[in-house]
């Protein structure tokens, strides 16, 4: 069972003096899809989840599921289930009774509820652990039980509030695979709240980027990485390169050269910022095509490295494999693939003084 979820201009303020935790935020999640609500700590993403499931009431705005306005509906009647960062397994119940909880409160007899719960325990690969107490589980097992318990409620909407952030990397990857497998078996709409870009990209069909309670951008994973709509979106997605410049006759001029305005339509003259993923910037050896630059920093990132290059006052970052021999002070050539550029924060108006251009070789 799945349902389309619509969040319509929802606002929630906790403090009279402070800014709203969620500010006029609208979002649509297609039935059966998985959306990742991605944002830094304190951006309002968990509050958004609590508003959707009814644990918080909005100051204004509406939440609809399958075309029905559920804004004032009690949480237990919304057909949702949630898995939080903490498993929150009821300590006075065994594993099997935790998973059977939803059925028991629905009025199903305990024996039947336990039989039903067993299939969900099997689904999360915890066969035979039903008799254990929640205290006897490891962190990963407890989170699997929490997932089984939520699935056993057969929710139309499954809410995941940073459910894997307390697990180590290996366990997290296992849980990601488990969630992908489960999504093939159950057809719930999934709303995943996370601050981990990789997790969002790995699990979600679309990403809703949230900051300061506002929706910054909602789109596919590729869109968010390669076509951010603002510098804010680019930075939130971990983008490091912002190339301010002027736009004239459909061309963006900056210290890194002249590039045709991305998108095909030249638009009005003025100014704008080109953003490009550091993974897309190429570092070439001297004497090849590209803009000449000097390596000003090299930051190891395990199997990768972040190389910072400078051309005059302008700075650019490129992520390369760690095996690429680059040293501080090296003279290199930098190539920015025009197809990887996105123009953001464009302002139309009289041309500002053009920045000194570095000629492409």
């Amino acid at each position: 069972m799945s349902a389309t979820v619509i969040v319509d201009a929802i606002t929630k303020t906790f403090s009279r003096v402070g800014p709203p935790a969620v500010d006029h935020l609208s979002l649509q999640i297609a039935g059966g899809h998985c959306i990742a609500v991605l944002g830094p700590s304190g951006s309002g993403k968990s509050t958004l989840l609590r508003l959707v499931c009814g644990l918080e009431q909005p100051d204004s705005g509406r939440v609809s599921v399958a075309g029905q306005d559920i804004t004032g509906v009690d949480p237990e009647k919304r057909g949702m289930a949630m898995v939080s960062q903490r498993p929150l397994l009821f300590p006075h119940l065994s594993v099997i009774d935790n998973v059977a909880f939803a059925a028991v409160v629905r009025g199903v007899r305990r024996r039947a509820a336990r039989a039903d719960a067993t299939q969900f325990l099997n689904m999360v690969q915890l066969d035979g652990l039903g008799g254990r107490s929640s205290h006897e589980l490891s962190g990963g097992q407890a989170q699997r039980v929490a997932l089984a318990r939520a699935l056993a409620a057969r929710p139309a909407v499954l809410l995941l509030d940073e459910p894997f952030s307390a697990l180590d990397l290996e366990l997290r990857q296992e849980m990601h695979q488990l969630l992908r497998d489960i999504r093939n078996l159950v057809n719930s709409t999934v709303i995943l709240v996370t601050h981990d870009r990789d997790e969002a990209a790995s699990l979600a069909d679309t990403i809703a980027l949230v900051n300061a309670g506002r929706l910054v951008q909602h789109g596919t994973v590729q869109d968010l990485y390669r076509r951010p709509i603002s510098v804010e979106a680019s930075r939130l997605m971990g983008g490091k390169n912002e190339i301010p410049g002027t736009i004239a006759a459909g061309t963006h001029y900056s210290a890194w050269g002249a590039f045709p305005v991305p998108g095909g339509t030249p638009g009005a003259d003025g100014s704008g910022i080109l953003v490009v993923r550091q993974e897309s910037v190429e570092i070439l050896t001297a004497g090849t095509a590209g803009t000449e630059a000097i390596v000003s920093a090299v930051q190891p990132l395990g199997a990768r490295q972040l190389v910072t290059v400078q051309a005059g006052e302008a700075t650019l970052h490129a992520e390369t494999t760690a095996f690429r021999a680059v040293a501080l002070g090296d003279r290199v050539r930098v190539r920015i693939p025009a197809g990887e550029l996105a123009l953001v924060d464009r302002v139309a108006g009289p041309l500002a003084a053009r920045q000194p251009l570095v000629q492409n070789a």
């Binding site: 644990l55 237990e76 949702m80 949630m82 065994s94 409160v105 107490s133 409620a153 809410l159």
Partner: protein, 289 residues
């Protein structure tokens, strides 16, 4: 042929004990003897005063310098019953139960309000709740007695009301400590799994705070069961409880056996109550798991 018998510890020593010389593997015999000695000492300290009480309760005659009673019998018990021990016992029991039945839920709600919800003036509320402990019972009882008389309040209601106020700090304190570590996330989780508000209370909230509730209920019962001053002053003689009988018996001479019987009777219910609560808590946990 001589056979060497090894103890299990010798056959299968702890891994740390296989490496002599470390702090953890050092013999701890002396420490163990000390711990056992201290435990026995504490047990004696608690139980020793009860020994003469029990002996006196079963003694018809016990004169100095005999170590044990010279004549055993049930004269003390008969006399205690003749003085109204049975109804006093029931009155005390009722008083203890009524006080705990009122003070425990009130203390629980107050503790939850202070510890879990953002109640305005929580600090002042805490001071107010704990104030009865700071005030001398005699002063409070004497002062309130006049007010209650003018209000024509039935003495039983007055006694129960004041004892509930005295029990509240204890029940609140115990429950506040429990709510300090209580996670309301469990309740949210239960609601999202389809539990109604009532089911959340019965299936999640109460089981999670059950051990603390039992402790609070026990303390509330003790306040009602063991009170002397408030029952005497506010009850105005209409409420004859075990502590009042004990005090009246102890004030006279030659009543040692009767006083002992009544004192033993005063000890038994709290112990039984504690045992029942403990057993119920364990049984419930075992049943749930």
């Amino acid at each position: 042929m001589a056979m060497t018998v090894f103890s299990r510890a010798e056959r299968d020593p702890h891994p740390l004990q296989r490496r002599p010389g470390t702090g953890l593997s050092r013999p701890r015999g002396l420490g163990r003897v000390g711990r056992v000695g201290l435990s026995l000492g504490l047990a004696c300290w608690f139980l020793l005063p009860l020994a003469p009480l029990v002996l006196w309760a079963l003694a018809d005659r016990w004169s100095f310098p005999n170590v044990l009673p010279t004549r055993w019998g049930s004269t003390g018990l008969t006399a205690a019953l003749a003085q109204g021990a049975a109804p006093a016992f029931l009155t005390s029991l009722g008083l203890g139960l009524v006080v705990t039945l009122i003070a425990t839920p009130l203390g629980t709600m107050a503790a939850r309000a202070v510890a879990v919800y953002r109640v305005r003036g929580a600090g002042w509320l805490t001071v107010l709740l704990f104030a009865p402990i700071a005030l001398p019972a005699f002063a409070v009882a004497t002062g309130l007695n006049v007010i209650l008389l003018r209000l024509h309040t039935p003495s039983v209601v007055g006694v129960v009301g004041i004892l509930v106020v005295y029990a509240l700090p204890y029940t609140t304190f115990v429950m506040r400590a429990a709510y300090g570590t209580y996670d309301t996330g469990f309740e949210d989780e239960a609601r999202l799994l389809g539990a109604s508000r009532r089911q959340v209370v019965t299936r999640v909230h109460l089981p999670l705070i059950a051990p603390a509730l039992a402790r609070a209920a026990f303390l509330g019962f003790l306040v009602g069961w063991s009170d002397y001053l408030v029952t005497l002053l506010i009850g105005g003689g209409q409420l004859v409880t075990v502590p009042i009988l004990v005090a009246s018996s102890a004030a006279g001479t030659g009543n040692t056996a009767v006083t002992a019987v009544l004192s033993v009777a005063a000890i038994v219910p709290p112990l039984v109550f504690l045992a029942v609560l403990e057993r119920t808590g364990r049984h419930r946990t075992r049943e749930e798991t």
